[in-house]
Subunit: 138 residues, 2 copies
DNA sequence: TTGCGTGCAAAGGTTTTGCATGGCA
DNA sequence: TGCCATGCAAAACCTTTGCACGCAA
């Protein structure tokens, strides 16, 4: 398991994600972001590194709508986000982090009443953020 | 908009979904279910009808996991399932429906305290179901 | 030197689209 | 008859995999 080298591409990918904590990247976005900085990295390499980062717990993968590509977000080495829920705005794509005592109760309620252990760190609630709701006057 | 004919295939697909309200079908499941009843329907036709049903608000599409096929569920013409959450077991893949007053409060809390309008119908909570937790003794 | 990392291209799987034919109204 | 619907196959898409070469240790 510890058979891993420290390579230029691996650093580039990790640093890009880390440099914009909170932003969600698609695999292609990573490739073009790096390309625009003069670094050409292969598609397969990006996917392989993302998988490693996910397993290492440093990156989270999100399923976004409609057969589009997956999104990846740096969440850090610490587990500070463990009990955070994420709210993703379907309209503007903004991803919000929410920590709140009430939401902690959600997990216990679901466990108690429905026998299901929720993993907040894997869960994303979809909806519309304040800005978009006001802008669209929905 | 009203340019549509009433065809055998369209009826078959709508009736199959309607006949098992609450069940999640993949496109392939629809095809093989119909095939086992002696009705051969093309893949493209199924997808095209699903899209119409979604636009008509009678069917809901779920993307449960990246890389796998989408699931489609009949939800009827009424919007009675407004606050219907889904729990997906990361272990066995089971998809559970949860209708619960407490969860209704979640939406209002998030709206009130975080200014975010949650769409339960688009949201899937990930975790471990009762059976798997007991089986794995986690 | 060893063996993981890389990148290209090809494969795999799901969904969409083009086109000639079939079926509803 | 006019047009939408159908179904096959091919295309489009995202992601994974095979393989030869490159590079870290």
């Amino acid at each position: 398991m510890e058979n891993s080298y420290n390579t230029k591409q691996g650093q580039l990918i990790a640093e890009l994600l880390k440099s914009e904590k909170g932003r969600h990247f698609t695999a292609d976005a990573i490739i073009s972001d790096l390309a625009s900085k003069g670094h050409k990295v292969g598609k397969a390499t990006v996917y392989r590194h993302l998988e490693k980062l996910i397993n290492a717990g440093q990156v989270r993968k999100y399923i976004v709508e409609e057969g589009t590509s997956a999104c990846y977000e740096y969440i850090g080495d610490s587990h500070e986000c463990k009990s955070h829920y994420h709210l993703k705005c379907s309209s503007c794509g903004e991803l919000l982090h929410v920590r709140c005592d009430f939401l902690d109760e959600v997990s216990s309620h679901i466990l108690g009443h429905h026998g299901f252990t929720v993993k907040p760190e894997k869960t994303v609630l979809y909806g519309i953020c304040k800005n978009c709701r006001e802008a669209e006057n929905v």
